[in-house]
């Protein structure tokens, strides 16, 4: 399939004054989803998200049309997301795909937590994340595309099953599964949860701060504290472990920003439960990705080595269990 040609053919429908697409190139990314960056000849900067015909769909991932519908829904609420320009139709020749505006900013977590350029926006970033999460979580559920619902106990059961299948014998994970099963908070009414709200999926501008929340493919309905806890998992603090919120802020700033924007009071203990579950999930995911090496499905060095990242979550979980003891 000639993606640049198909985008040129679509140019007029993406922007009234455009006649063709320029500089279309694929950004490195996952095998199941392609991301292309391109411009129109009237200067419009765009992104194409498409699933190649051979692209597998993981169980949890949303269809792209649903992802685009979600972006549009939270955009209407005022959340910072790229504006969806077109959900592609079969006649567009791009397969399952949509086009959105290209935001500019930094997504590399290491730079956001360390570079001098972001020193001015870092102090306000945790509160801003709270504000944005409150906005996302307040999205009316009527009219959203069909989304899976999950809660703490369901997630624990799902990941424990994956862990059992791995054949690994890791006492930190065994202890964490039992501890978290006992500590699971009472369910609350489910809200729209981003599902992967972490440093790395946040686009930050050195002057404007958080300008874009990206990668909505794991969105679902669930406990609002899930998103707050996931943001605080140490694996995405990029070395800045003393700043629990994404490596750039403090718990109080995140929770206060959340409450001040109408998100309601979330107890720190509830956030910490989801943070611990987040570390445990990431640890099990590392084992799961290693399993594709062990089975022979993907014998790459990358797939082998990812298994050795499970131990980072063990260190993080021990610390959280010591605090709870």
């Amino acid at each position: 399939m000639d993606i640049p040609a198909a985008l040129s053919a679509l140019a007029r429908r993406l922007s009234p004054n455009a006649t063709r697409a320029l500089d279309a190139r694929r950004l490195s990314g996952g095998a199941s989803l392609e991301t292309w960056t391109f411009d129109l000849d009237d200067g419009t900067a765009l992104i194409l998200r498409r699933r190649p015909p051979t692209g597998s769909m993981s169980q949890a991932a949303l269809p792209l049309a649903a992802e685009a519908a979600l972006l549009a829904a939270v955009d209407r609420r005022g959340a910072p997301v790229p504006e969806v320009v077109r959900i592609c139709e079969p006649g567009d020749g791009l397969g399952e795909a949509y086009v959105m505006r290209r935001l500019t900013g930094e997504t590399l977590g290491k730079r956001i937590v360390r570079d001098e350029a972001f020193a001015g926006v870092r102090p306000g970033l945790a509160a801003r994340c709270g504000q944005v999460l409150a906005t996302i979580h307040a999205t009316p559920l009527d009219g959203l595309p069909p989304l899976a619902t999950s809660d703490a106990r369901g997630e624990l059961a799902r990941y424990e099953a994956v862990y059992r299948q791995s054949g690994a014998e890791r006492p930190v994970f065994e202890a964490a599964f039992r501890w978290l099963a006992d500590a699971a908070p009472a369910p609350v009414p489910a809200v729209l949860v981003h599902g992967d709200f972490r440093n790395g999926n946040l686009m930050v501008d050195p002057g404007k701060g958080l300008v874009g929340v990206l990668d909505w493919e794991l969105s679902h309905l669930g406990d609002p504290a899930e998103d707050l806890g996931w943001l605080c998992v140490n694996s995405w603090r990029f070395g800045q472990w003393r700043r629990p919120v994404g490596g750039f802020g403090d718990y109080a700033a995140l929770l206060d920003g959340y409450a001040a924007s109408g998100g309601g009071e979330i107890a720190l203990s509830r956030l910490l439960f989801w943070q611990a579950l987040g570390s445990l999930k990431w640890g099990v995911m590392c084992l799961m990705m290693y399993a594709s090496f062990a089975s022979g499905a993907d014998r790459s060095i990358e797939r082998a080595m990812i298994g050795r990242r499970a131990s980072e979550t063990e260190a993080d979980l021990v610390l959280l269990m010591e605090r709870a003891a």
Partner: protein, 122 residues
């Protein structure tokens, strides 16, 4: 023995690894992963024997039993799974802390969680 992956599996993956074009960002990323795997194997060769012996000694004390690392570690996992051992038991957590620090020293010595754990224990 360290598993998921074992040192043998890392050696196999390294033996099969072929560097791609230096112009390709993905190929460059994989070269760094391979370098990292070699460094991990070197650290494991140096550190794993003593870590294993220390873990075995801790497990013998914790479970009040003799045995090798694999059988004692499997027993500990089974006891936790069955609820026979409190997951927040202090002696258990002391063992898990020491094991986690020894393992991260092999897998990812620069990982910040190790510094956080050491700081909390100070």
């Amino acid at each position: 023995m360290i598993t998921h992956p074992s040192a043998t599996e890392l050696e196999e993956a390294l033996a099969a690894f072929q560097a791609g074009s230096p112009d390709d960002p993905r190929a460059n990323f994989l070269v760094r992963v391979a370098d990292n795997a070699r460094a991990t194997l070197e650290r494991e060769a140096v550190l794993a024997p003593a870590a294993r012996e220390a873990a075995t000694n801790r497990l013998q004390a914790l479970l009040d039993q003799d045995g090798d690392f694999e059988s004692l570690n499997a027993q500990l996992c089974a006891a936790l799974r069955a609820g026979r051992l409190d997951p927040l038991d202090h002696a258990l957590l002391a063992h898990l802390r020491a094991s986690a620090l020894d393992q991260i020293a092999i897998d990812q010595p620069g990982y910040s969680g190790a510094a956080a754990l050491i700081d909390a224990g100070a």
